[in-house]
């Protein structure tokens, strides 16, 4: 895993958790889809983006872990 990717991953997570843990309470809150408040939508949708980024990062990370071999 290159240094640039590691730094980008750390920046992404810092921004994501700052937004998720601190900023969401201060976001506007109109109803979307006729029933879901925007703050609730953000709480449900942003972890999906995070999960995708985590998958992407660790997909490449573990692809490089060819030397780690353990017999079950």
């Amino acid at each position: 895993m290159s240094r640039t990717n590691k730094v980008l991953f750390i920046i992404f997570n810092s921004v994501y958790f700052f937004f998720n843990w601190i900023l969401i309470p201060y976001m506007p809150n109109p109803l979307i889809f006729g029933w879901m408040p925007l703050q609730m939508f953000l709480m449900f949708s942003t972890p999906l983006i995070a999960a995708f980024v985590w998958w992407l990062y660790y997909h490449h990370f573990f692809k490089a872990q060819t030397n780690v071999k353990y017999q079950q």
């Binding site: 997570n13 998720n20 843990w21 029933w35 408040p37 449900f44 942003t46 079950q72």
Partner: protein
Amino acid sequence: MGVDQLIVVGILLYSGVLVYHGFRSFKETSKSSESFFTADRGVNPFVLLATTAISVFSALAFYGAPAALYRDGIGFFANTGGMVAGLLFVVIGYRIWILGKEYGFLTPVDYLRSRYDSEGYGLLVAIVLILFILPYVAMQLIAIGDAVSVTTHGFMSYLPAVALATIVVSLHIIGGGMKSVAWMDAFHFVLGIGTLIVLVTYLTLTYFPNGGLAEAVNIIMDDPELAPLLSHPGPNGTFNWQGSLSTVLTAAVATVVWPHIFMRMYVTANKETFKMMSWALPISYLFVYFFIVIIGTILAPAILGSGVTNTDSIVSILSTDYAPPIISFLSLLCLFAFGVSTADSLLLSASAMGSRDIFVHHAFELKGKSVDPQRVVTFGRILLVILMVLILIIVASRPAYIVDYAYSLSSPFFAQILPATVFGLFWKRGTKEAAYTGTILGLIVTTVFTFFIPAPLGFSALVWALLANTVSYVAVSYVTKAPAHVIDRYITRIDSIIYSGTAVNNSVDHALSSLNERKDFKG
């Protein structure tokens, strides 16, 4: 036969299946502690995902989370911490797994005792974790006992219900150890999610036929008392940024080092499983919580209004008074799923720490005596019987000092091994003295801010405890020194395995050099 009797028959059938399932693999899991406590480190990806996700959610999550959402609004969703557990499970878990493979670790105590090269610290961690597992497990079973009594309208009263739950859960683990626990958790995971979907679908279609959730939300928005539920900071002003951050740190960040979740890192079959956990664990949490949030912030307020005084009962009110008996029974099974999965996992980790890390380690290993692997499993099973009796006494008598006080300290106390665990994995300066200081200070700060002084600045006791724990750990590490051989063994070596494979290469080089230096070797 009436509905209440049918529900009791259903519970007895479920209990029978649970015990049978446990004892089905009795022989197979008796061969070694690795088989009994970690299922031979061979749990497949879906089962690991299910057992991890459902073990985090307790019986009180099924009743307590919708209740908290009903009281304080959508801000309580911070309880999931942005699904941080998914990331932490890989960041911490991969190294823990490698350490387990390299050195045979099975429990959090194994790792912490070795990393800090301290029998005393290992003993301290083991005692604290085991002591506070008991009230946590007891509360799961008390919740089940209460729910059975309410759902069957007293036909099966609290005492026989809670005794049945305790005995069944204990026998299930005694029978098959981690293998039974993990597979039954997978079933419970499907059962729990399935029941939540059924409950949400039934209530929505039955009570809001002309618009579904949109109709329910309109009812809430038209009521000035209920409308604040659907925004931050909520009707009681709980979830400003301090409240949200406190909830995240209290409920989410440390779950990865709870003893039963910590042990899940050792049982992983292969490294690819961690890749899957990075995205699947957050999504599975999200899936479970989506329905819990819908129940707590939309369906319950729209159906029940704002007049419910005993908010902890909203799920049981919805499932018994507003739904047919089959839904009541399913909800009860869902509570079993959440409660049993947490209780059995925690009891197994208590048994592993008590039998291996305290009894076997101190009575045999430290005295240079060897112990038969099968005997370790026997010790673990005997300890489970002793724990079962202790828990039976607790759930029968419901002493206030356990139900009210010890339980509220359980999660925060489990969390106090987080700094020592994380720094121990990544920071070469971390020392035994720092681990002692941080953990003990964290335990003291948690206790003081929970019972004696209100925690300042709107943050929870756990936030202050983790801060004190971390700061003191770092400070003490700078003025003390970690032994070089320990750092080499538990950090440098693991770094080289992960980042370059040089550990393997070094071993080969060393072997070849030794061979070349042998005078009698004719290459």
